[in-house]
Structure formats: structure tokens, C-alpha cells
């Protein structure tokens, strides 16, 4: 068992970290203030990042991606956590692994352009009546001759305003429950497909969250991703890695960055004639944050390593979804507490981190849902979830 970070990993993280610090961090406040990242800036950061090979690093090399192992990807994703959602999307791409199920002509139409960054993709699963309950969707796709006709709506679709196409789940056989759901690739501009309002959110400013409306949208089998009725299964098989990357790893990165700022403040801020870091109650918060960050990162690396070994550690991923989201929640809450009034003030980004953090316990399956996955898996007898020596 080798716990040493390799020199390649260090070089990679140095590049990603340096790029974020120099190219992305200076844009954060401007996006926060205006609520948008303008297209020219978006394009400029994409060009720079892409020329360094930092776009779509999670996708295998044969499809034009960076070909990173899951562990290496998590190390990069941790760094992504140092900046904001919209800047990550533009600089490094949200190229979902689910697109790797593209076959035949789908590869050139959707997968390759997505990996190159020529076309941007959003996942459209969530509906007003189906959040964590992904099988509870109402959007229907009905086969008519050699066509599919899509009707329904999606909401909270992240980055919908910018995206060129969407991976949409729809019920294709209502009799079969979660086995009657299929996935479709739907281009923006397809007749009958319209964009609704941009839902304003508590945080993650700059990323749009759109309603999508499908009104007799005609599709063909060329739009069907994977096989009919396998949509949910396919989605769940690849979304685990996305969840680990975009929630757990980024939460670790955000927590790390926030603790660094908090430590600086605890050293510098003087009250009652001494730095507040000298007070034991502040010290407890600092030590707890560091210990919890390390524990979560170690678990993250271990789970990523399982994926690299070809395992499908779904319950571990669920556990890390909860751990990551709740870690960030605690670390940022302590940061606000230690920064005091300055943590509440808009003069510092701490209050922004606090608002941006709250969604981590909610999106991609709420903590409660993932905890329940962990508990059910344990009760079914998966002792290896807490005891590696048991099997």
C-alpha cells in the first residue's frame, strides 16, 4: 500500500492549482457581483485551460480526454473546489462519463464535441416531483413509428442557459417502474424544446438553473443513449464517479481552502491583547476542521482507488457524498464563527463560501437519502463498509 503522492500527481496538481489561482480566482468576485460570466471571458479561460490539456481530464484518452485515473481525477477535483462552479465548468468542463455510452454516429455528434469543449452538456434528470427520487419522473417519451415523442418538464437544470445539449431521462414504459426509464440526448433548438426561467439560488451565482419544457419534441433512436429501459441503471452506474468528484472531492477542496483562510485570520486577529488563535475554543474549531478534512480526503482517495481497481463502491460513494457535504458545512460554519462580523460581511468572501456550501448537503441526492443507502447496505450484510478485514 503506497500512500506517497507521486511526482506526476504533484506536477498535475501544481498546474491545476496555479491555473486556478492565476486565471480563475481573480474572476470570482466579478461573477458574484454581476451574476454572470460573460461569453468572451468564458471563451478565454476555456482556450487557456484547453491548451494545457485541462479540459475533460476525466474522459479516457481514446475519446480525446485527459485519461486520468479516478484517483488522479479526485486530486484535480479537490483543487477545482478552490474556485466556483461556473468557472470550473468553463475551464475544466463537466463532461459527464454517461456520454461514453454514445455509439455509432452519436460519438461524433455528442461525445467528441463535448470532450473538445465545442459543445457543452447538462444533465437533465430533476423534475418538480422527482429530485432524489430519480425514478419518480413524469416526463414521457412515447414511440410512434420510428420516432420518439417527448413531453414533460425538467427543472433546476444546472448550466442550462449555456449548454448546447441535454441528457434527459424520460419514462418509456410506465409499467416497468425504474426499469422503464430511458435516456435521450436532446439538442437545444429541437422543435418543441423550450427553455424556461432561470431559478435564482442562494449561492453558486453565475451558474444558471433552468426549467426545460418538452412539448411534442420529436426524437429518433439516434437520440436514445444506451438501450431502452436501461436509462436509470446506466445513469446510476456512472454518476457515482461524478458524485465523488463534484461533491466529495470539491467539498474537501473548499474546506481546505476555507481552513487556510481561517488559520490566517486566527493568527492575525487580536482580541483581549492576543491572537484569537490562542483561545482554546477557537483552537478546538481549527483542530476539528483539520482532522475532519484529512479523514474525508483519505476516505475519498480510498474509494477512488476502489473505482480504479474496477470495483463499484456505491455505498462508499454514498457515504462520501454525506461526509463531503457535511464536512464543508461544518468547516465553513466554523469559519464564519471565527471570522465573526467579518465572516458575515460581504467585504470578505467567507459569507459567499457559506451560501455556496449549503447545497452540498442537498444536490446529487440529499444526505438523508445517501445515509439511508449506507444503512441499508450495512443491514444487507456489507461488513466491508466498516471492516476491511471481514471478507
Amino acid at each position: 500500500m503506497d500512500f506517497e503522492i507521486s511526482h506526476e500527481q504533484r506536477m498535475l496538481v501544481d498546474t491545476v492549482r496555479g491555473f486556478i489561482k492565476d486565471e480563475l480566482a481573480p474572476l470570482e468576485q466579478q461573477v458574484e457581483d454581476s451574476g454572470v460570466l460573460d461569453d468572451a471571458t468564458a471563451h478565454a479561460i476555456f482556450e487557456k485551460s484547453s491548451s494545457l490539456g485541462l479540459y475533460g481530464m476525466n474522459i479516457p484518452e481514446q475519446f480525446g480526454g485527459g485519461g486520468l485515473s479516478c484517483l488522479d481525477q479526485m486530486m484535480c477535483e479537490e483543487q477545482f473546489g478552490h474556485t466556483t462552479d461556473i468557472l470550473i465548468r468553463r475551464a475544466f468542463g463537466n463532461v459527464y462519463e454517461v456520454l461514453l455510452s454514445c455509439t455509432g454516429a452519436q460519438v461524433d455528434r455528442w461525445l467528441t464535441p463535448a470532450v473538445k469543449g465545442d459543445r457543452v452538456c447538462s444533465i437533465a434528470f430533476t423534475e418538480p416531483g422527482a429530485g432524489s427520487d430519480a425514478a419518480g419522473i413524469k416526463t414521457r417519451a412515447v414511440r410512434k413509428g420510428d420516432k420518439w415523442v417527448l413531453n414533460g418538464m425538467k427543472h433546476y437544470i444546472s448550466d442550462g442557459a449555456f449548454s448546447d445539449f441535454f441528457v434527459v431521462t424520460a419514462v418509456t414504459d410506465p409499467e416497468k417502474g425504474h426499469r422503464g426509464i430511458s435516456m435521450f440526448l436532446v439538442d437545444k433548438g429541437t422543435p418543441g424544446f423550450s427553455l424556461g426561467r432561470d431559478q435564482q439560488m442562494m449561492g453558486i451565482r453565475g451558474t444558471s438553473h433552468l426549467d426545460l419544457h418538452f412539448d411534442d419534441v420529436e426524437l429518433t433512436d439516434a437520440n436514445l443513449l444506451g438501450t431502452e429501459g436501461e436509462g436509470l441503471k446506466l445513469a446510476l452506474s456512472v454518476l457515482g464517479r461524478v458524485r465523488l468528484a463534484q461533491v466529495s472531492a470539491r467539498a474537501v477542496g473548499k474546506s481546505t481552502k476555507i481552513l487556510g483562510l481561517t488559520l490566517d485570520y486566527a493568527r492575525d486577529r487580536v482580541q483581549f491583547g492576543q491572537p484569537i488563535g490562542d483561545f482554546q475554543m477557537v483552537q478546538q474549531m481549527l483542530a476539528d476542521s483539520a482532522m475532519e478534512i484529512n479523514a474525508t480526503r483519505t476516505a475519498l482517495w480510498q474509494t477512488a482507488n476502489k473505482i480504479d481497481r474496477g470495483l463499484d463502491p456505491r455505498a462508499d460513494i454514498s457515504a462520501l457524498k454525506v461526509q463531503g457535504g457535511e464536512l464543508l458545512d461544518r468547516v465553513v460554519d466554523r469559519a464564519v464563527q471565527i471570522f465573526g462580523g467579518m465572516g458575515f460581511s460581504k467585504d470578505l468572501p467567507i459569507e459567499r463560501y457559506y451560501r455556496d456550501a449549503r447545497i452540498y448537503r442537498i444536490f446529487d441526492g440529499a444526505s438523508e437519502v445517501h445515509r439511508s443507502v449506507v444503512a441499508k447496505t450495512l443491514l444487507k450484510g456489507a461488513t466491508d463498509l466498516y471492516d476491511p478485514w471481514s471478507n
Partner: protein
């Protein structure tokens, strides 16, 4: 033209340096080490010369402990073609002195026959600012130090030097040694494809003995100490008071 770039593994510029308890030097155990920033600028300049079609091959060389291999891999990931590691010490705390480094480099130059040696003006660990000049003396080559701008003009290098009181532009006949200053360029990030490629680029491992150079230190470190802690400041009430205080302190 072949360009040779010597690179040194030094304590990372972001690390807060700690002096060892016995005062014999700076503690380097479990401390982040990186390429000397001036050497990074030299590597970058060499890559730019290659991209501009003025150089064909970039060879990087490092002299020190075995771990300097990582520094060389970093240079390869930036875009250098080939690396030579000269192991001259076992202990990370051993600093090979400029004269020994220059002697080894002279031998490497003899073997490699580069048209240009691009070096950092100094290493940030001991600030000697001597290796490039010594190498020039040993080889009898032209030298241009503290380059803030440079170009190749036929068989000469045109170098703008940062000197006290301004800039001086000189033309030196190649082969030559150019030592680079901070403002010459901004080094690039190693790209993901280049990081992957770096693993496969050739890295020759040699020892100081292979070159017959004695690296025994000629200098003795008598004492290493932390800089004096900054004294507490005072708040002044007005500009007049500030000026008075500065006069008092003999600063104006």
C-alpha cells in the same frame, strides 16, 4: 543549436524557512522542494527559443541529490527534451558549491557541445550568483548575466541586462553563457499531455566521480540564524508626526 539548462532543486519559495536547531543550516527534511525559480525562467526561455526555431534540442542538467530527478522531470514536463542527473551528494542538506558545479557543468558542456547555456542568475537558497560566471571562466566563453530580454542574431546573442541604474544591451558571440533575471519571461505551467510525456523522456544518471570532479566543500558554515524579528510598529496621528518620527530615526 542545442541549449543546455542547469537546474537546481531548492526549498520551495513559498515555504517558511526554519533554521536547524544546531545552526548548521536550514531544515530541509520533509519540506517542499521545487525548481529554483530563476532556473524555471531559463527553461522557459529555452523552450521559447525552440518554439521560435532558434534551438533544436533542450538538455537540462541537475547536480545534487538523487531527488533532483524530480526537478528534472518538472523541466521535461515543461518541454525540455532530455535530462542529465549528476548525483553528487547523499544528504539533502549538502549544498554543492558553485565552483564544483561549474567544473561538472564544464565537463557536461564538453560532452554535449551546446551553442548556449541558459542558467538562472542565482539559486534562491544560497544566493551565490557565481556558477554562470565561473563556468564562463572555465570554458573561456562569453557571458551575459542578469538577462531581462534576449534574442539570437546569427551566431550572437543579444542580451538586455538589468544593471544598477537601468538597462544595458550587449551582444555576445556564441557559444555563450546567459544567466537570466526575474523579468525575462513568465514560465508556463506543465500541461497534462507534457506531464504524461515527461515520464518517457530520457534521463541519464551520472555521478560527480564520472566527471572526476571533487565536490568536497571549500566553505565552512560557521553559523546560520533567523533574520531578526521585526520590531512592533507605532501608530502616528498625522503626516507631520510621521515626518518628525522619520527625521528622528534619521530616515529622511
Amino acid at each position: 543549436m542545442k541549449v543546455l539548462v542547469p537546474v537546481k532543486r531548492v526549498i520551495d519559495y513559498n515555504v517558511k524557512v526554519r533554521v536547524k536547531a544546531d545552526g548548521s543550516g536550514v531544515d530541509l527534511a520533509n519540506v517542499k522542494m521545487s525548481m529554483n525559480p530563476f532556473d524555471e525562467i531559463a527553461v522557459e526561455e529555452a523552450i521559447r527559443l525552440k518554439e521560435a526555431g532558434k534551438a533544436e534540442e533542450i538538455v537540462v542538467v541537475s547536480i545534487g541529490v538523487k531527488q533532483a530527478q524530480e526537478t528534472l522531470r518538472t523541466a521535461l514536463a515543461m518541454g525540455a527534451d532530455r535530462a542529465i542527473l549528476v548525483v553528487a551528494a547523499d544528504d539533502v542538506h549538502t549544498d554543492i558549491e558553485p565552483l564544483a558545479v561549474a567544473k561538472i557543468l564544464a565537463k557536461v558542456v564538453e560532452e554535449e557541445q551546446p551553442g548556449l547555456v541558459l542558467a538562472g542568475k542565482q539559486a534562491i537558497d544560497n544566493d551565490m550568483n557565481a556558477t554562470g560566471q565561473m563556468l564562463s571562466a572555465i570554458l573561456g566563453w562569453s557571458q551575459a548575466t542578469f538577462a531581462s530580454e534576449m534574442g539570437i542574431d546569427g551566431d550572437s546573442a543579444v542580451v538586455t541586462r538589468e544593471v544598477d541604474g537601468g538597462l544595458q544591451t550587449i551582444k555576445v558571440k556564441m557559444p555563450a553563457i546567459v544567466t537570466v533575471d526575474l523579468r525575462l519571461n513568465e514560465p508556463r505551467y506543465a500541461s497534462l499531455p507534457n506531464i504524461m510525456k515527461a515520464k518517457k523522456k530520457p534521463l541519464d544518471e551520472k555521478t560527480a566521480d564520472d566527471y572526476g570532479v571533487d565536490v568536497t566543500p571549500r566553505l565552512e558554515i560557521v553559523k546560520t540564524s533567523e533574520p531578526a524579528a521585526r520590531a512592533a510598529g507605532i501608530m502616528v496621528g498625522s503626516v507631520d508626526e510621521l515626518v518628525a518620527k522619520l527625521k528622528e530615526a534619521g530616515a529622511v
